[in-house]
Subunit: 215 residues, 2 copies
Amino acid sequence: MKMYGNWRSAAAFRVRIALNLKGIAYEETFIDLDAGDQLKPEFLAINPQGAVPALFDGEGPPLTQSLAILDYLEETHPGTPLLPADPRERARARSLAQVVACDTHPLYVPRVRTYVMETYGVPRETMLGFVRHWFGRGLATLETRLTQEPGTGRFAQGDFISHADLCLVSLWIGTGIFGVETQAYPTVRRIAEECLTLDAIAKAHPLRQPGAPKP
Amino acid sequence: MKMYGNWRSAAAFRVRIALNLKGIAYEETFIDLDAGDQLKPEFLAINPQGAVPALFDGEGPPLTQSLAILDYLEETHPGTPLLPADPRERARARSLAQVVACDTHPLYVPRVRTYVMETYGVPRETMLGFVRHWFGRGLATLETRLTQEPGTGRFAQGDFISHADLCLVSLWIGTGIFGVETQAYPTVRRIAEECLTLDAIAKAHPLRQPGAPKP
């Protein structure tokens, strides 16, 4: 498969993990988001939304939106399942994933940060407060649910890795990038660290991709 | 089934439509979001995120996050499918749904509007500019994709209603509530109006629920 992504994109990270866990060979083209390459005509012809990831599976139109791509990979490559078999457990894994992918991550992507800074004259430093606030809300929801709900196991849903973990670890990585306080979220940390022991996830890590800042 | 929702919630609207289309009997309890009832301990015990919808299917933990609920209903009630059978078509329907449910709707929910108004001293009237901006981005993405991509038919994906339409019509209804300009989006309008001719959708309309303002 052929993917358009970016080292820093949490959404591209989720898709890289799924491809690695399922053993699907892929090449990634890294779009320079800081240079605005996602808004150039060549890329808008691939995804009119101007967002990564976009994934080509052979010929045919690109797949977009990370959760839709994860479901597509699940349906077309059911080996190494990344959702449980039971419908209620699947729903819980998806719900936890969506706490990140719907209610948290879209609030701090570059297009939102830029709009808030330009529209309200918010300096870059103050903007970090906005980003950290929404990280905190997402992390607090995950922590509460993971500690209160009986479905939690070694991973977010039971003892096998699922879409919930792919989203959780993609959020966790961002806490380092944006300097988010994390001590109130020990269960999120435990699961993120469990995820990062897996080679398929460690290899997909944003800081190990081309374009990432050197440590 | 038993649902906790709200007349105005776009996410609750999507779930009501799916329940109606699949012929699943349900009762809805309407949470007063303006009074902050979603943040009271009784409701936080149901959904620690303090968000609607939450759906109970018999005994057992509540289902949360509208897209996760839609997939659960699809898996447990496959009659009247709301996703196509082909994986690529399913992925496109889900991707269009997520343009709304991940990248548009979460940006204008009450918790975000309140945060921006309080943090940056933005008056309520100016806040509408923020809301309309993100509506416009979402609507423009849908319009471009629906006109350029060959998958569009009578509905957003082909000639049968899918999750893409449930999300599209839930966004469309909001354009009236928030006074969003819509003339640049004729294809979105055509599909939304097609949806609203269906009794299952008309019955689920926000303005027909208890608590909605009288016309």
